[in-house]
Assembly symmetry: D2
Homo-oligomer: 352 residues x 4
């Protein structure tokens, strides 16, 4: 993810007409050696094994966090305390309490923040949001969505950090957060949830071959009610054999519907009542697309989405109008995820 950040910062200045050219100034990693190597590969000027150095450095205008999840909170809080804007990878934190504290710190600081829910920066998602918010599909009555992958589908998939609960492990935290973020982004606040988690493979072997008990979820399903009146369901699974990045949803309205899947993220299927679904291909008329491709049908890639995200981050830092998703928005994701977890434990609907 560090590399994706570095490439995006480098590309943003070329792709967009920005008033600044970001410099990759100082990178921190676990050891002096690994930090130096990362700096060399990614094009940073300096490196350090102590991330706190960054906070003390007056030449640093933005702290980007692509560290392990449990470091998000301490790094972000230190950066905010040092008066530096923060751009943090998702999830915001490994516990709701941490996320609340980070968001409070951000609010108190008045500094710009941003969280890397990269898929939301897709111009086709912006189009979906515009269609919804402008009333083009009428009143939204349902949102049904899933984030399905299969990298843990095999019982032989190893026990790694994603299986550690204190690392924000589990399908809900790791990838379910994407579909929750999407639902919130498109349909607005969730008012209550009823969810269930499942661990299909309760024992996995770690890299050393030792059997480890898995306490995180392999998949999640939840019913949701939105504050605006719509109902629906969310799901997350990392054992969905054959699905690679199926962040897919259908938003149903009284006058239209929208269907999308991240596996074909340069397309949006839009239906207007009385007609069928029309496949809209991404093109220069769709937001930032034209900064990357000369004509429709050429397609943005994942790194282009990251670059669009970085533009929003830079705009936020510069005080320009921007579409950055700040800590407060990311906190909403954590709250819904936490409510789903509570619902699972208590076998009850949980209000937000």
């Amino acid at each position: 993810m560090g590399r994706a950040h570095a490439m995006a910062f480098a590309t943003a200045a070329r792709a967009f007409d920005l008033p600044v050219t970001p410099a990759l100034e100082l990178i921190a990693d676990r050891t002096e050696a690994s930090a130096a190597e990362a700096a060399e590969i990614l094009g940073f000027r300096r490196s350090t094994a102590n991330w706190r150095t960054i906070m003390a450095d007056p030449s640093i205008d933005l702290v980007a966090i692509a560290a392990p999840n449990r470091l998000h909170a301490p790094i972000a809080e230190a950066a905010l305390a040092a008066g530096k804007p923060v751009y943090c990878e998702k999830p915001l934190a490994t516990t709701l309490a941490e996320a609340e504290a980070m968001t409070a710190a951000a609010g108190a600081s008045g500094l710009p923040t941003a969280v890397g829910y990269t898929y939301l920066y897709n111009p086709m998602i912006a189009l979906a949001r515009d269609l919804i918010q402008s009333g083009e599909i009428g009143e939204v009555t349902a949102f049904r969505g899933i984030h399905a992958e299969d990298f843990m589908a095999s019982p032989d998939a190893p026990f790694g950090w994603r299986c550690e609960p204190d690392q924000a492990g589990g399908a809900l935290a790791d990838i379910g957060s994407h579909i929750i973020a999407m639902a919130l982004h498109l349909v607005g606040e969730v008012s209550e949830v009823s969810g269930t988690l499942q661990t299909a493979h309760p024992v996995r072997r770690d890299a050393a071959g030792a059997e480890r008990r898995v306490t995180v979820d392999d998949q999640m399903d939840a019913l949701v009610r939105f504050a605006g009146g719509a109902t629906g369901a969310l799901a997350a699974s990392w054992i969905a054999t054959g699905r690679k990045n199926q962040l897919a949803f259908e938003v149903t309205g009284t006058r239209g519907s929208i269907h999308f899947t991240q596996e074909r993220f340069n397309e949006l299927k839009l239906c207007r009542a009385g007609g069928g679904f029309t496949t809209i291909l991404a093109g220069p008329e769709h937001g930032a697309y034209g900064a990357f491709c000369p004509a429709p049908g050429h397609q943005l890639g994942y790194n282009d989405l990251k670059t669009i995200e970085v533009r929003a981050v830079l705009q936020a830092v510069l005080g320009l109008p921007n579409a950055a998703l700040d800590f407060a928005k990311a906190l909403r994701v954590e709250r819904v995820a936490d409510a789903i977890r509570r619902s699972h434990r208590e076998r009850a609907w949980i209000a937000l």
Copy 2:
């Protein structure tokens, strides 16, 4: 639906090598005139305005029920009492109590019964079931399915019998039953559910233009746990703008996955772990397909599924091996639907 039955009985004898040729002997309808007209159009020999006449007629070997839902129970019970096999349209009944009584009567009679869950007779569904039951996709970990249509999506769609709760109205009863039946058919018993119903348009106008309060659901979402350990979600909606007959599901297993939608019911998408989804087109190698089409890619239509269903009914009546879905199987659908309704009312998980 009466016409679909009549066409299917006529076609079954030509499409399949059956030991009998069914005769359409006696049809009942509301009035003598309408019954006579139906007999003329559909090719029945005789007609009556009193369905009880059928039960008293010794020349009748099978009673097929395509009457309004609230008549299913009395007609079926009278037929069984008269010693006649019964082929009943779905849903089995308008209340769970009725469905229980009908199933008990069928069991006590020892007579063959069948219920018209036509979509389950699709050779591609038989293929899916075989793939699942033979272990081709490994252990099933999830089933997520929906039945979505849009004929009530407009607030202007009229209040009709489908809006009457005592007619088995509502999206859950009317079309949700299809996805419940599919889940049970493919994955087996459901052990518990957590569901929610929504009425998006609580007032509709009837044919006379009068405002009527709608007490049935426009859409349903439910979490399910299967006795075999899989989890998942079911949904039903008749306000899903743009969806016409989207009885769609994905069954996920540890070694493969299956995706299907009724809107393209001559196709099955099968993924084996490590590969992508393969589109299998219906062909002569798939069960009854060859009785209708000379070669792959020609496609079965809805009436062909009905004809395959009628073959099963006739085989059941004749005491031959058959795949008819009997009252006991249809009762399971009613039990799950009832549990979802209770879950909605009680805001709790309901065990089956």
Copy 3:
């Protein structure tokens, strides 16, 4: 194909409100025994081993020909000479000369004729034709189409009647005729062609295991110019591995485009200039669909198309308005196919 005819005649009377109910009166087959058996299975009243008997029978009002291709001409001409309307399977004949003679005989007789280009009776094709003829897609600039199957893709596929040139064998005659018929039906007269044929497997074994030289084509490609100014290309292949009934085309106009494939024949993809392709699902608003299915998304099957064709045949016989494709229309297909063959031999453009 005889069975498809019999089922379609039986179903037509039930599906449609026709002023007559067709009776399957007399069937001819090679031997008395096979004819009697066919009569029994298909529901004909009488049978014969001599097809000329049919012509002499005053109770016969329509002769339907599903005999081997080389018998089409003699049977049709005898029927017309006997004053009987003729419904003939495609292709019209095995040589252009025969087809010309048949069409001349039909014209001279003034009798109704019809040819079984079943795919053209699809309501979605009627929709495509309406869209084109009404100018909805503007001026047609291109038609590109193919009919691809794979039943001869293996070098081990046996030498059968389809490999016999005097049986109208070869991919061009056998299945290429469908895409030619479609092009003519949708875009109108072809003015010139440049074509090429290929025999990928020049030797195949017959049922007895003997090696046989194949002189017919395994695939065909042709450039076409239409009288209306459009250009494009046609292809046919029975060695197209993986394709089962891919009768697919795209019609391009200055204001829209239409895409279709027979493998999903209940769908039409329509693009209007400035928008994307919209998937239109077959429904009751599309011609004869409603005679078969209660609601959209249910899907017609191949036999339903055959039944729609039979309705047109019966309407033609009864002197009612009808959409039957007569001998003159089928002759146009033969002329284009013949021109493609000549073009291949002469390595030159051939005008029609």
Copy 4:
């Protein structure tokens, strides 16, 4: 296109482990001012209004040409004469004679060259090529492909440089070259062609509003025979309403088939004889994909393909093993295009 080059050179060093980091040294444009502005935006160190300055500069190790088509030949020849490797945008030249001369100069110089047929650098195309060359799909019997866009579909689309024959204008030269390049890349040498060109809109208005006669083609269709025995067809159209970048093809083999469209270029559909088409999603197992995306389903974008191309260019310049498409390969494209043009004029098959 200049921006795409600049971004690709900048990204290549970060995405790949290359022994050098390319420096954007000197950029030429029409005027000093525009060159300086381009240098600023794209990150070049120096700028010039005279491209010949580049050739004289000993610090330049590679000349990249993204100038108008008619300048490709003089710039490339000057660069080669100066001993500099050349990376040239497609098409190689505006006439076959020029292309021949450039290729001869490249051959004589012994210098590395590359041409920007960017779509061929797609890892999914590499996969297709591997499947074909390894015999996975058996002997190739057919290739049918098209490159269809619609930016000139409207009669109101303006007369611009793409309408100028001496700028390599016309659909065949501009975009048909992509499908020819693809055919050659996957199936090998073309032995003969029969083609036809059409100008659907013979008059267009230029930017000044003046009517201009269009002498280039709006669309092209051609039959092809490959040296290896396969046959097929190629098409190009820039008036294909609704198509945005439909560089699509199907390669048919005796044991399998491959289907692809650039509008979904992270997917390949592969059929093995006896099975259906399987959708393969791009992932880390596919060549350079992993340099850009952390997991499957994330998708490469157009600029990533350009970056992969630039890596090949740099590898070629460094004398490393590489997959760069050199002038000799691009010349083959020009020869096929020229043969199609001759075939159109002479209305005859043209051998290559």
